[in-house]
């Protein structure tokens, strides 16, 4: 009996592999590196969070508040307004860095120091702030920087929709404070970000 060649036709397999590669390449969306990971509670709601014009207020499990808005130019203009209000001078490079990063959570007085660092040391900076108990945007009634962020973001883009993305373990008083801050800025309509759950 003649021995058949061990080489086999791989064309169909390659076809399939490339088809799948193309599919995954087109459907994939890269998630940016966030300074905080939250685990939102689940709900049966099926509304999808919008991708654009989104203002996100993130509350982590320890009740620290983070803030994120989309749009490079809008971010830059919000930071300029905040700089004016808090009397901080940012260089063009620092403003650019701010415009391309994701969510952040620190008092305004540390912002310049933070933007001067590169990505690797920014993480260390957060750890440092956490040790001193100064991580997160102040949102209490004495010092409410979150309110200024929300206000200035709404000035630069009135179309922003507000979404609160909280960790399930976050305590209610913080959530209440965030909601009160929003209401003071006349945001009475907002979203809670949740994971999808199937109703029993």
């Amino acid at each position: 009996m003649p021995r058949s060649s061990p080489a086999l036709d791989m064309t169909p397999m390659v076809d399939l592999a490339f088809l799948l590669v193309t599919f995954f390449m087109l459907t994939t969306q890269f998630r940016a590196d966030e300074p905080v990971i939250v685990d939102p509670p689940s709900s049966v709601s099926e509304t999808i969070v919008p991708d654009i014009d989104l203002m996100q207020i993130i509350i982590d499990d320890k009740g620290k508040v983070f803030f994120n808005i989309d749009g490079k130019e809008k971010r830059a203009s919000v930071l300029r307004k905040m700089a004016e209000k808090y009397g901080v001078n940012f260089t063009d490079n620092e403003i650019y860095r701010f415009s391309i990063m994701t969510s952040f959570g620190m008092p305004m007085k540390y912002m310049k120091q933070f933007l001067g660092k590169d990505q690797a040391t920014q993480k260390l900076f957060y750890n440092d702030l956490e040790k001193r108990g100064e991580k997160g945007i102040p949102a209490d009634s004495l010092n409410n920087e979150l309110s200024d962020w929300v206000l200035n973001a709404r000035y630069s883009n009135p179309k922003y929709r507000v979404a609160i993305k909280g960790d399930g373990a976050a305590k209610y008083p913080v959530v209440k404070q965030v909601i009160e801050t929003l209401q003071r800025n006349k945001v009475n309509k907002f979203n809670f970000v949740t994971n999808l759950e199937v109703a029993q």
């Binding site: 060649s5 061990p6 080489a7 791989m10 064309t11 397999m13 390659v14 592999a17 490339f18 799948l20 590669v21 995954f24 390449m25 459907t27 994939t28 969306q29 890269f30 998630r31 939102p40 509670p41 709900s43 049966v44 709601s45 099926e46 509304t47 999808i48 969070v49 509350i59 979404a163 993305k165 909280g166 960790d167 399930g168 373990a169 976050a170 305590k171 209610y172 008083p173 913080v174 959530v175 209440k176 909601i179 209401q183 003071r184 006349k186 009475n188 309509k189 907002f190 979203n191 809670f192 970000v193 949740t194 994971n195 999808l196 759950e197 109703a199 029993q200």
Partner: protein
């Protein structure tokens, strides 16, 4: 695997006369390409996330100090007090200091709060069953989506329907709040509000005997 010259070319030696150029095979070794394709496939498969986060919409009343909050009829009002250990304390009616309401507690399970809400929502204006019927009609295709939405909103917003006041105390978590709002949509309750807890209600929670 790299064996490609399997055809019957290269038999030029038998021909007389002209020496033909050796015809090379049209087959190429595809192994490296396949390797690459599968590498990319694995990478994209592992990085892809399919379920996008969902959102639930919240509408808060506009805070206006010049307008008094509307008076809520007592009988159809159910107040839920969210507290620690995932407990929900509840009472029907107004918090009248002369006639304190009976406070009970339950939990977030399907047999706990959901049963209670469905019971009350059926008892007071049969809202639950009417919305469920609309939902069924819609699923069967008897009514279209627009009509279903309009009708269910109308039924939920009826003046006689159950009103739920959600009051969370300082020891409850964000998850509790989202869960209870979720129950509102599961139990077809259209009239609910998130309200600040009062001092007398904090007392009430303390006075409830927990078994």
């Amino acid at each position: 695997m790299a064996d490609v010259n399997t055809g019957d070319d290269g038999g030029g030696g038998k021909h007389k006369g002209k020496v033909r150029a050796k015809k090379s095979s049209t087959r190429i070794d595809m192994t490296p390409m396949v390797d690459l394709a599968f590498l990319l496939l694995t990478f994209f498969m592992l990085t892809t996330t399919f379920n996008k986060p969902k959102a639930m919409e919240i509408n808060m009343p506009i805070k206006d100090k010049t307008v008094d909050p509307p008076k809520i009829p007592g009988k159809q009002t159910l107040t839920l007090l969210l507290s620690d250990k995932n407990r929900i304390y509840w009472y029907i009616g107004a918090d009248d200091p002369n006639l304190p309401p009976a406070v009970e507690y339950t939990n977030f399970s399907a047999n706990g709060i959901r049963k209670l809400l469905i019971e009350k929502n059926t008892e007071i204006n049969s809202t639950f069953s009417r919305v469920e019927k609309l939902k069924e009609d819609f699923k069967k295709g008897q009514i279209d989506e627009k009509k279903y939405k309009e009708e269910s909103i109308k039924v939920k917003a009826e003046k006689k329907a159950l009103i739920v006041l959600i009051k969370a105390d300082d020891s409850s978590t964000y998850k509790n709040l989202v869960d209870i709002l979720d129950e509102m949509s599961i139990c077809n309750i259209g009239r609910y509000a998130i309200v600040d807890i009062t001092a007398s209600e904090i007392e009430m929670i303390k006075n409830v005997v927990v078994q």
